[in-house]
């Protein structure tokens, strides 16, 4: 060590400096105490959001049910709020019809995509196709709505000539396209987590890839796959813009996919954009419908969580 440094070393005593600074650090200590409380406050905002959602849905729904009986709401089959009929069945029916069509489209396509990506595709192919497929999930729903109305409906009209401009079929179909990546990537995760030893056991017995898929992978990944489908269904139930744009605004209790219908979400949009006055029965009906929608999706989400928790226990 050279001499100049040592003399400097004598001049500079870091521990003394630290000691001197310690007297000034009361501010720092105060920050140290306040910060966790601030962070906790922020973490509680998400809880408050949930409480807020429950509170607003419940309070305004109660307001609604003081004007319209709950029995009429849930058993009535005619929904025309502007003339005072509040039977929610047509809206629920519309939502279910859309969800059914979307499921019919998305589940086979999504599952088969998952099988292809997880079992057949090599790494290179998977790394190209998977992100592209996931782009589908990132496209704004208003764009899908536009696509459904201006492309899919005319396309279907080529097959079914008397299909109206607004119909459940193209709305549901496009919702299905939108949720394909959800089914595909969550199912693929489930299939990927099937231990390779199981597959190797079957290959060792001379099984083909297809037999391994059917007899080993699908049964082992079953609950994960079901959870992915349930989550995708929940997304379809809550989907708003596609059905608002393409499926129409006709509350209609039907299971004919070529007809124009209205979902719960589409009604909420319609009522919010129309001249609905604050405090009117129609205003409150927004929340009663929203409450029903919320219960549906929450139920689906809890079901998916329950299934995937059981799934995690298996491995």
């Amino acid at each position: 060590m050279d001499k100049s440094l040592q003399s400097e070393g004598n001049k500079l005593n870091v521990q003394d400096l630290i000691e001197r600074n310690k007297q000034k650090t009361t501010f720092g200590q105060r920050i140290e105490k306040i910060i966790p409380w601030f962070l906790l406050f922020c973490a509680i905002i998400s809880v408050l959001t949930t409480v807020g959602i429950l509170f607003t849905l419940l309070r305004e729904s109660i307001g609604f049910f003081s004007n319209v009986s709950m029995i009429d709401f849930y058993t009535g089959t005619n929904w025309s709020p502007w003339s005072g009929d509040y039977g929610v069945a047509p809206l629920i029916g519309g939502t279910l019809l859309i969800t059914l069509i979307a499921t019919v489209v998305a589940v086979p396509l999504g599952l088969m995509s998952a099988i292809f990506l997880s079992e057949y595709a090599n790494d290179k192919v998977r790394r190209v196709i998977k992100p592209i497929l996931e782009v589908l999930a990132g496209i704004p729903t208003v764009v899908y709505g536009y696509f459904a109305l201006t492309f899919v409906t005319p396309m279907f009209q080529g097959i079914i000539p008397d299909l109206g401009i607004f119909n459940a079929l193209s709305g549901g179909f496009v919702v299905g396209i939108m949720i394909i990546p959800m089914v595909a990537s969550l199912s693929e995760d489930a299939m990927n987590s099937v231990p390779n030893a199981l597959r190797e056991g079957a290959y060792g017995l001379g099984a083909t890839k297809l037999e391994v898929v059917y007899k080993v992978v699908l049964p082992a990944a079953f609950s994960g796959i079901v959870a992915s489908i349930v989550l995708a269904i929940s997304r379809a139930i809550g989907e708003t813009m596609i059905v608002t744009i393409a499926a129409g605004a006709t509350p209609n209790l039907t299971f004919d996919p070529t007809e124009s219908i209205q979902t719960m979400t589409a009604f909420i949009v319609q009522a919010a954009t129309g001249d609905t006055t604050f405090g009117s029965t129609i205003y409150y009906s927004l929340y009663a419908v929203g409450m029903t929608l919320f219960v549906f999706t929450l139920g689906m989400n809890l079901l998916a969580q329950y299934i995937s928790r059981k799934f995690r226990e298996e491995y």
Partner: protein
Amino acid sequence: MLGQNEEGIKKRMKGRVLKNKIMMGMFFLATSVGLVFLVLLFYRVLTQGIGYLSWDYLTSGPAPYPEEAGIWIGMIGSIMLMVIVAIFSVIVGVASAIYLEEYASQNKFTEFIRVNISNLAGVPSIVFGLLGLTFFVYMFNFGYTLIAGGLTMALLILPVIVVSAQEALRSVPIDLHQASLGMGASKWQTIARVILPAALPGILTGTIIALSRAIGETAPLIIVGAATAIYTLPDSLLAKYTVMPIQIYNWTGRPQEEWQFVAGAGIIILLAVLLLMNSIAVFIRNKFQQRL
């Protein structure tokens, strides 16, 4: 006997192999359906909208005639809205994530916050619209304004930000915690000077992806009253506003075919913005991820 048996097995083997081949083709076809529709969608939007895309379109606001209509007011509105959303959701989201990852002890309450966040992520966006309508529009009396829309949207993407920030914080090696605490740094000093900077790329990536979801979101903004046609840019937090998706929705719903071209042009802009945001996110991820 044995020979015949072998023949039979071979025959069946051929059948099984063929079946495998056919089904593989089916699986590939099914995968391509999604991709085909993606291509169709892009193609459709491009061919419909490209004709109306021009400098005038970018710089003018809504108009009664399709030839004169433009995206300017919506585009700036979207950007302003995103600034509000980003400020609020990043502060609250990152703070929540720090609390959950660094401060919270493993108790029932923490678990409750976690479950709550994951459930919140599954609530349909339109329900957030109803939340905003009750609280921000009426109870806080903001009316149909920029701030009401921004706060509603911030709450909507909050769960996404919290979860991605949690992942980013978790990926910071425990070594760095130890190194900092071992120097006599306090907990907050460690977080502010070491953990957060190391987690920043991950947090940024997650935030941009969350914002790119928010910028295309339409339904909740309809509920909290984004205007369909305004002619001046919002000049305060309490001003009326509109955003790109709302404009597109509005144009799509008009009966004359020309409006669909106007909407198509708007979609091109919206998708371009999304592409840009996602590219930035991917760039940040690739640039910084190898470092840790």
